[in-house]
Structure formats: C-alpha cells, structure tokens
C-alpha cells in the first residue's frame, strides 16, 4: 500500500507565505486539489515534485523523506507542470525518448515505453511530427505521455486542463481516470467541472492552507440545502450580488435566472436545487468567487 505523507509543510517566499502548514496523507487514487488562483497549488506541487524545497515540514513516501530519497523518489514520480515547454525541433518520439533516458529507462525499455504512452494519449499518428506543429491540446497530451513514461507511482499534474477547449477537457478527464490505476494521482485545478466523477477525494486549498478534505459526494452533501435558484429583474441583480454568492446567471424570458449559494433562503420565491461542485466552490471560496465562476463557465 502506497502512502505519501505531507507533513506540515510551508513555503515562504521573501515576504509571501505561499503554503502554510499543509498536511495530508494520500494513498492510491485520484485526488483533486481545488483552489482559486494564488491558493498555493503550484507551490505545493513543486515541493511534491522535488524541484522546490519546503521552508519547513517534510514529505514522506512510505515513511522515507523524499529529500533524502532523491533520485529514488523521482524514479517513482511523474510530474506535469502547469506551464511547460517543448523542444520545438524535436519530434514526439525524440522528445519522449530523451525523457525516457532521463527517467532512467534503458534504450530497449525506452523504445517500447515511448510507443505505449504515445498510443495511450492517442498521438501515434503524429509521432514523427516536429513539436512546433503541435496544438495546445496535443502538447498537453504529450506532457501526460511524458509524465507516464516511467510508470510512476505518484503522478502530479498541475492544472492540466488550463487552456484546453471543452472537448479536449472531456477527453483529458477520461484519459486521466483511465490511467489512474493504482497510483497516487494529484490533480490541481481551479475548474470544478474537471474533478466531477474522477476524484476520489477533493482537497480544498485556500491561501496556502488545506481548508477541507472530503469526497465529492460529501462536498455536495455539505451544501445540499444551500443552493437556490430564482428569477429576478435585471435591476435587482447588483443588490443580490452584493449580499449573496451568486453563481450562474442566465437570461430567460421572464427576467434573469440566478443561482445563489446561501445558508438561508435568499428570496421568497427562491427554490432549492441540486448542488453541483461549482456551487461547492462558490460556497467555500467566497472572495475568489468571480474568478472561480468565470473559469467554471469557460
């Protein structure tokens, strides 16, 4: 049984506390790290990827400190950064072969494994093309292929769906659940729809700290009676937005249909509706509401 323990880690940049006393225990399965921009997701993941040292705290894989494990830890690691580049003049095969060697595969293994991962991410037709001709979605898939080369026990993917169109996002989500297997997969996002169905647990992160950890069902449950829908006049909208967390806004024939997350019934004619993870997001990340909703609506 695989166990990754994040033990009270913090990261401070000069004057900025990016991650504060974050602790979690992860075993096989897909975890979603959900939080608005600036929550510290990328910083946390970089520390998990052994490319950034925590200011304090440790990370343990099966009881061993990863900073001591070094190569051995990274041998079990697949990491896809939020933003990454490629060698424009490399073909996909050359690119992956290079990384296969970096990941310690020997020549023979590298050849077979490169084929396998290319198939997995559905890029085998484009294997001989130069990477400068790749689209954003193809680059992401290539990135996932790269992360999977060494069949990692721990897979860390930082906002893998950012910049993808909705169709590509769905495909990407499917791919991710397909490859989850018996690994620890930690996926960060600020887009809630990414994690519906695939995440075993959701870690909500805000201002550098873990504020809640639960399954998506539990999360939905926690806002069950707090999501409302009602139709209002256009001019009432600003007032409403001032007092409540307002989600989706939709123009309908009779006025404007708004979705509101609130502990109390906001208006007399508001009715309870089934919550989605977007509502959960709205509920937990009050200040960052605008950003979150906009991202969710993409």
């Amino acid at each position: 049984m695989l166990k990754l323990i994040i033990e009270n880690i913090s990261k401070t940049f000069k004057d900025k506390q990016a991650v504060t006393g974050f602790s979690a225990e992860l075993s096989e399965g897909v975890y979603a790290l959900l939080g608005p921009n600036g929550a510290g997701k990328t910083t946390l993941m970089r520390m998990l990827a052994d490319i950034l040292k925590p200011t304090s705290g440790r990370i343990l894989l099966d009881g061993k400190d990863i900073s001591i494990m070094g190569d051995h830890y990274r041998d079990s690691l697949g990491y896809l950064p939020q933003e990454f580049g490629l060698y424009r003049n490399f073909t996909a095969v050359r690119f992956l072969s290079y990384f296969a060697r970096l990941k310690g595969l020997d020549k023979q293994e590298a050849t077979t494994r490169v084929d396998e991962v290319l198939k997995l991410v559905n890029l085998q037709q484009d294997r001989k093309r130069k990477l400068k001709t790749y689209s954003g979605g193809m680059k992401r898939r290539l990135g996932i292929a790269l992360a999977l080369l060494n069949d990692p026990k721990i897979l860390i993917v930082d906002e893998p769906t950012a910049g993808l169109d909705p169709q590509e996002r769905v495909r990407f989500r499917n791919l991710l659940s397909e490859i989850a297997g018996d690994r620890i997969v930690l996926l960060s996002t600020h887009i809630v729809s990414d994690i519906e169905y695939i995440a075993k647990e959701v870690l909500l992160m805000r201002q550098g700290t873990l504020i809640q950890r639960s399954t998506s069902e539990q999360l939905l449950d926690s806002v069950k009676d707090k999501v409302w829908k009602c139709t209002v006049e256009q001019h009432a909208l600003p007032q409403l937005q001032k007092h409540y967390k307002v989600g989706n806004i939709q123009r309908v024939e009779t006025g404007i249909e708004v979705r509101i997350v609130s502990d109390q019934q906001p208006l007399a004619d508001a009715v309870n509706v089934t919550p989605t993870l977007e509502d959960v997001y709205l509920y937990f990340f009050n200040e960052e509401v605008i950003d979150g909703v906009q991202a969710g609506m993409l």
Binding site: T43, A49, R74, Y79, Y87, L102, K103, G143
Partner: protein
C-alpha cells in the same frame, strides 16, 4: 541522453554558417601570396649547404657572399640568387641569436653570482640558465615549411577570435535554452535530471569543442601543406622558426628557451589549445546556466575573453590588472605565444614557468567550475 544533447547543439544552423565562413576566411588568407614559402626545390639544395646549426665557417661564408651581392659583384637577380640571399640572411640571423644566447648565459651567471642561493632571483636566473644551457646548438638554418603557420589559425588573436565565436555560438544555449524552452521543471523532476543530465551536457559540449577544434586544425594544416608544399622541418628545433621566416603569425621562437622539436611543440600546442578551448567552454556553460539567456551568455563570454586585449591596448598592464591579463582566458588560448620567451612567476619564492603555471591554474579553475556547475544545477529551486 548524451545523443540528444549533441543533437540539441548540432541542430543549430548558425554554427554551420559560421564554420563555413571561417573556413572561407582561412582559404582566402592562405592563398594570399607569401614571399618565401620555401616550396621550391632550390631550398632543398640550399639546406644541404647551409642547413643545421650555424658554424663560424657558415657565417663567414654567408657574410662574404652577402657583401659580394651588395657590392653588385654578383648581379643577375634570378630567383635562385634571391633564395640564396634569403637563406644566408637566415644563417646570419641565427648566428646573432646564438650570440645573444651566450651573452644572456653570461648575464645569468653573473646574476646567480650576485644573489645568494635560496633567493628567488637566484632561482629564477638558475632556471633560465639551465634551460638555455640545455639548448644544444639549436640556432641555425632549417628548411621549415608548413610548420611556421600551423600553430594557430592565421595568428594568435584571430585564432582566439575564430575559436571563441564557435564555442560561444555552440555552447551558450546549452543550459539557457532549457529555461527559454521552459523545460527545466520537466527535467529536474526526473530521476537523472539533476546530475546525469549535467554530465550529458558537459560531454556533448566537450564533443562539440573537440569536433570544431580538430576540424579547424585539420583544415588549417591542410591549407598550410598546400601553401608551403610539405612537412619539411618537423624535426628541427623550434628555434629554427625565426623572425626571418615569412609567416602570418609573425611569431618567432629563435629566442625561446624551450627545448622542443617542431613536431613536439606542435603536439603540445594542439593539446594545450584544446584544453584552453575546453576551459573556455566550461565558463560558457556556467554562464549559460547562471544567466539563463543565450544572448547574455554570448555577450558576457565575449567580454571575459576580450577584456585583457583591451587592457593591453590601453597599456594598463601593471600590478593587479597585469596579473588579470597574464592569467586570462585570452592568454590561455594564445598558446603559441606563451613559449616564445622566458617568463616565470614567483610562487612561494619558487619560480614557475609562466605557461605551465597558467595551465595548472586553469586546470584547477576549470575543475572547480565544473563542480560548481553540478552543484548549482542540482540545488536549483524552481519558483518562477
């Protein structure tokens, strides 16, 4: 990994463009006419008569013959006569060098007498004295063809310029490109991305330098063979490469205290130049890592190489700046200039010959810089 690192370096088109330009320049320069290449067979005959160490008798004959020519007793300026005159001129020149050497020996003996044993001055004089003493009848006329221009590309400063451009061009991107391409995060999170990658990059860079260096050497040697028509003189003492010989570099070794045959000196300079190129390569790599920018690396590397030349031009070569100039990458790369005269440095009261000190120093520095590169790369933090 090594192969792909090589691919990254060698897939840059600019290096081929510059390489070809350099080769064209070499070809152009080598077809410029040289007065006396000694290609002609007449020089082989002249060597029979005048070749080898100077003797009283040869000098005497040479002087007489030259005086006769000057007096117009022998007219009729055929090439043969001009060649003879030229060789006689070299013979008398060698005689003067020989004279200088014996005077220098006397002077050094006096110095050794004046200073107590155990003083630095005494030791320095003793070393030079022993070196000169060990030179056994090295002055004379030797038929030296290609070798006089084989020790550098055109001349020492162009040599540095041409090689540096190629090294900067090839190696500036080695680390910097990973940052420009934003691939460092990917690399550092892999098993071997923190250490073995650096080895692969160093090895690929080394391969690049060796290939560039040797190709230029081979082309240069070939062009010289074409120009001078042979390898005659390979077993002559380097003192045979005198200031009287027509050569692009204008370097002469007739006052050199070093006891090398031409072929030995050729191998030595090649080895040291290769080492110098590698040392320069290592500093470029470190800069490439530190600046994370190809252009800046190119720029800073150029400044590092060129500054001593500027200081020399400005004449500020005293004291600390003088040391900086003497122990600079520029001097290190100008290997062929290091052995033309005696120069020693005081190291804890012991004189150490300048070229050897320079190389030992840079071997140590290069080793340290390599270690530093490994260390910095391994410990870098990604947080941009």
């Amino acid at each position: 990994m090594y192969r792909q690192e090589c691919y990254k370096i060698f897939s840059k088109k600019s290096i081929y463009l510059v390489f070809i330009t350099i080769v064209l320049l070499l070809v152009y320069v080598h077809q410029l006419p040289t007065d006396m290449t000694m290609r002609e067979s007449v020089f082989e005959e002249l060597e029979e008569t005048w070749g080898g160490p100077v003797t009283e008798e040869k000098v005497e004959r040479a002087r007489e013959s030259m005086n006769a020519a000057d007096a117009g007793e022998v007219s009729n300026h055929t090439f043969e006569l001009r060649a003879t005159d030229y060789v006689q001129f070299l013979v008398t020149g060698a005689a003067m060098q020989k004279q200088d050497q014996s005077e220098r020996l006397t002077m050094l003996e006096a110095e050794m007498h004046d200073f107590d044993e155990g003083t630095y001055e005494h030791r320095e004089a003793a070393i030079e004295h022993d070196m000169l003493q060990a030179l056994d009848d090295v002055h004379g006329f030797y038929l030296i063809r290609s070798w006089r221009e084989m020790f550098e590309l055109i001349e020492p400063t162009t040599h540095v310029l041409l090689l540096s451009i190629l090294i900067f061009l090839g190696l500036s991107p080695v680390f910097a490109d990973e940052y420009t391409n934003r691939t460092t995060d990917l690399i550092l999170a892999t098993k071997h991305g923190k250490t073995k990658l650096v080895s692969a990059k160093l090895l690929a860079s080394l391969s690049y330098i060796v290939i560039v260096f040797l190709s230029l050497q081979i082309i240069n040697s070939f062009l010289n063979l074409l120009k001078f028509g042979g390898i005659a003189g390979w077993d002559a003492p380097i003192q045979g490469i005198s200031s009287g010989l027509d050569s692009l570099s204008r370097l002469s070794y007739d006052g050199s205290p070093y006891n090398f045959d031409v072929w030995q000196f050729f191998l030595l300079t090649i080895a040291l130049q290769l080492f110098a190129s590698i040392a320069v390569g290592v500093i470029v790599l470190l800069l490439s890592f530190l600046t994370k920018n190809t252009m800046i690396t190119f720029f800073v590397s150029s400044i590092i190489i060129a500054t001593p030349a500027l200081l020399q031009q400005l004449g500020t070569t005293d004291g600390f700046l003088g040391y900086l100039t003497d122990f600079s990458f520029l001097k290190l790369m100008q290997v062929s200039t290091l052995f033309t005269q005696f120069q020693a440095y005081n190291l804890f009261d012991y004189p150490v010959l300048y070229p050897y000190l320079l190389f030992i120093l840079f071997a140590v520095v290069t080793g340290l810089l390599i270690m530093l590169t490994y260390r910095l790369f391994r410990n870098q933090q990604i947080s941009h």
